[in-house]
């Protein structure tokens, strides 16, 4: 901070305090109180235990922590909690943020350097906060002749589509935002929207390099959606249901599907790398050939939104891999059935099954994300014709092989209802 501090004057200090108090009073009386009365009048307050939760009850409960447990217990059953916090957006965004930081450190160690070091006291932990603040403070430059509506709308569509898929992923039994019977199909339907967004945004940028990048993004994503869906199809054959929770339940009853259909798991992994535009498949953003591909004209928060969406998509695809092939939340129970906390009795909100499921799911997802980050340090970028050749010819053939293996397992009576390996 290179500003000259002004001389301290007591009178001015008192004056500024009074000014502050004045403004607080104005806002509270003119805005806060009417808002409070509207809420109290129109919004139905939930009953906690056997009392209606009025603000006065809420304030008294806050003072005594042991009495906030019923509030938290009620909160966990609402939809808002599920959407915004736990299996929903906050969880995904936190994992995405940790992913970004871990990626930078992980890659740095592979490349014989250190990575972020200075932001934050411990090894650059606050680097993301610094980056976010920097991106917010930058000017968003819209190129002349660009389609303004699409230019502003496309990044928002990108993040919301990525977040929409988060809604379908089950983290623990019963903990999923949207439990649809055709969950897997819905996931692929929403994922199919991404090439359109890339193309719209590159077209709206009105510039040559984004145009080339958008075309490449379109070709790449569409080419790899088919092996993507086909490799998931083998899992559907083995488990007999499209519901994601049902797939995990089928794996809980027998063994993890990756042992039965490893080739499909491999193809799914490669296709998800292509969908995410990660190296070695990052042609749409190939830096040395087409500046930044379809992201060339993004600046400031638009770039931040797209990066956030991209990393949330990474979480989604890694979580999907875990759900389909690695058994979802299966794992040995490491939480005790009852927990005795010293002061507060948290038994109403303590659910060992859910906690155990979350732990194993997070660990497995994180391991899968690390596996997706790994090729960035190893491979160069692939060329578009090799990419399309691989996507359309080789991967589809491999998925068919595994589909036949899956069908053979079902009809041979090894898996499926009443099979040999079903516990």
């Amino acid at each position: 901070m290179a500003t000259y501090p002004q001389n301290f004057r007591f009178g001015e200090f008192v004056g500024s305090l009074i000014w502050l108090i004045f403004w607080i009073l104005i806002i509270v009386t003119l805005v806060g109180l009417p808002l409070l009365f509207i809420i109290l009048f129109y919004v139905p307050l939930p009953p906690i235990g056997d009392e209606v939760l009025t603000p006065y009850l809420f304030l008294t409960m806050i003072v005594d922590p042991s009495r906030t447990i019923p509030i938290i217990e009620h909160l966990m059953t609402t939809d808002l909690f599920r959407v915004a916090l736990f299996p929903g957006f906050t969880y995904a965004a936190l994992i995405a943020a940790v992913t970004i930081f871990v990626e930078r450190k992980f890659l740095a160690k592979m490349q014989l350097r250190i990575g972020p070091l200075y932001a934050g006291k411990i090894e650059g932990i606050l680097q993301l906060v610094a980056d976010g603040l920097k991106l917010i403070s930058k000017e968003i430059i819209v190129p002349s002749g660009a389609d303004k509506v699409l230019f502003w709308a496309a990044p928002i569509m990108f993040v919301s589509t990525a977040a929409a898929v988060v809604a379908l992923i089950p983290v623990a039994p019963g903990w999923v935002v949207a439990d649809i019977d055709v969950g897997l199909l819905a996931v692929f339907a929403i994922l199919g929207f991404f090439p359109l967004i890339a193309l719209l945004f590159s077209w709206a940028s009105n510039s040559k390099y984004p145009f080339i990048g958008g075309m490449r993004a379109l070709h790449q994503m569409i080419a790899f959606e088919i092996p993507f869906i086909l490799s998931a199809l083998s899992v559907v054959i083995l488990s007999g249901t499209l519901n994601l929770t049902g797939i995990v339940d089928a794996q809980l009853q027998s063994y993890w599907f990756i042992f039965f259909v490893p080739i499909s798991a491999f193809v799914f992994y490669i296709s998800s790398l292509a969908e995410l535009e990660r190296i070695p498949f990052d042609l749409p953003e190939a830096e040395s050939e087409i500046v930044a591909g379809w992201l060339t004209e993004t600046s400031g928060m638009i770039y931040g939104l797209i990066q956030l969406g991209s990393y949330v998509k990474t979480y989604v695809l890694a979580a999907l891999f875990v759900v389909l092939f690695l058994g979802g939340w299966a794992g040995p129970m490491v939480f005790p059935p009852e927990v005795h906390a010293p002061i507060i009795d948290i038994s109403p909100i303590y659910d060992p099954v859910a906690a155990n499921a979350t732990l194993w799911f997070t660990l497995k997802t994180f391991g899968m994300i690390l596996l997706m980050l790994l090729p960035r340090g190893i491979s160069p970028r692939i060329r578009i014709d090799i990419l399309l050749h691989t996507g359309w010819y080789k991967l589809i053939v491999l998925t068919f092989i595994n589909m036949f293996i899956a069908l053979a397992l079902i009809y041979g009576g090894i898996l499926g209802p009443g099979g040999l390996l079903v516990r």
Partner: protein, 386 residues
Amino acid sequence: MTSVEDKFEESKKLGLQIVKESEEDRLMTLSVGPQHPGSGHFRFTIKVDGDYIVYCDPDPGYVHRGEEKMCEYRNVIQNIPHLERPVIHDSSNITYSYSLAVEELVGIEVPRRGQFIRAIASELNRQVYTLYWLAIYGIFLGHSTMFMWPMGDRELFIDLLEALTGARVTHAYNIPGGVRNDMPDGFKDRCMRQVRYFEKRLKEYEDIFYNNPLFRQRTEGVAVLSKEDAIKLGVTGSVVRASGIPYDIRKAEPYDIYNEIDFKVQYMKTGDCFARSYVPFLDMKESCHIIEQLLDKMPQSGEVRAKLQPNPKGPPGEAYRRVESGRGALGYYIVSDGTPKPYRVKISVGSFRNMLALPYLLVGQKLADMPAVYWSLNYWPVEADR
């Protein structure tokens, strides 16, 4: 592949055709300009039909500073600092050639220890430049690890050069008559240790980069420069060695003490991008051997610089000497008219000669190959502009 002339005419016809009849708006003109992460400070305009490049026109001159003109205003010793600027990290080679030409004009004899130290500095600079080139080649293909590792190893060499000359880059070390100062104590052991460590690192480079199947897929068979075309286009350095012609000035016309050093000229016969990217790597390996031999055979003591008058001048005449630098044959043509300031200095740089291969090779390639082909020609834009 048709001959050079046919390819040129074909591509020029296509380019001119579209400029004249613009109703067929199929071609897209891209300016891979000075502000492009894929080109350095160099602009070339390409016309793209779908994914294939049909026309390429290099346009250097972004960093043109008039080196040759500036040489005529300074005497021969004062020319050294600004002559290094075209290639700042390979600076000992670009002044080596100049020093050789001036010594021939003026008639100076360089003492033996000075010759050895000059050769050591030249080889170290060749390693530094080739590592930088390799790093940028990695990042052009999207391989970020191959960008970081050579840059890290390069720092060790730059530290050595800093101990020897006093500056990290732009050393101003070679002067007509020898080198400026002697080696510090302990430099020999340090250099040997560093070279041995680096030879082990080169094996790792080979594993992660040259044996990487994706890299091989992208560069093998791409943009083949046949032997006849290479001779006709007059390319030099690693480009001509990758097309099957084992021409290295250190072997063909040995200067200083290179006739006492035993090394092999590395060359490959295929002439595609992979060969052009592998030959500098082999050169680096060979350079390690050369450094070890130089350090062993160096005389223990002696002068490193010949005594010169304050303004060295020689009889009127001219001289043309060449040196093998990281990019190819770097030749100096100096005309002197008896005054301390040279009358005309012409620098024939490898990059300028290799630039001719760029439009020839890029026509018909895919757009995605453009960085791979462009950088494999070992082109340093600042040097070509002088």
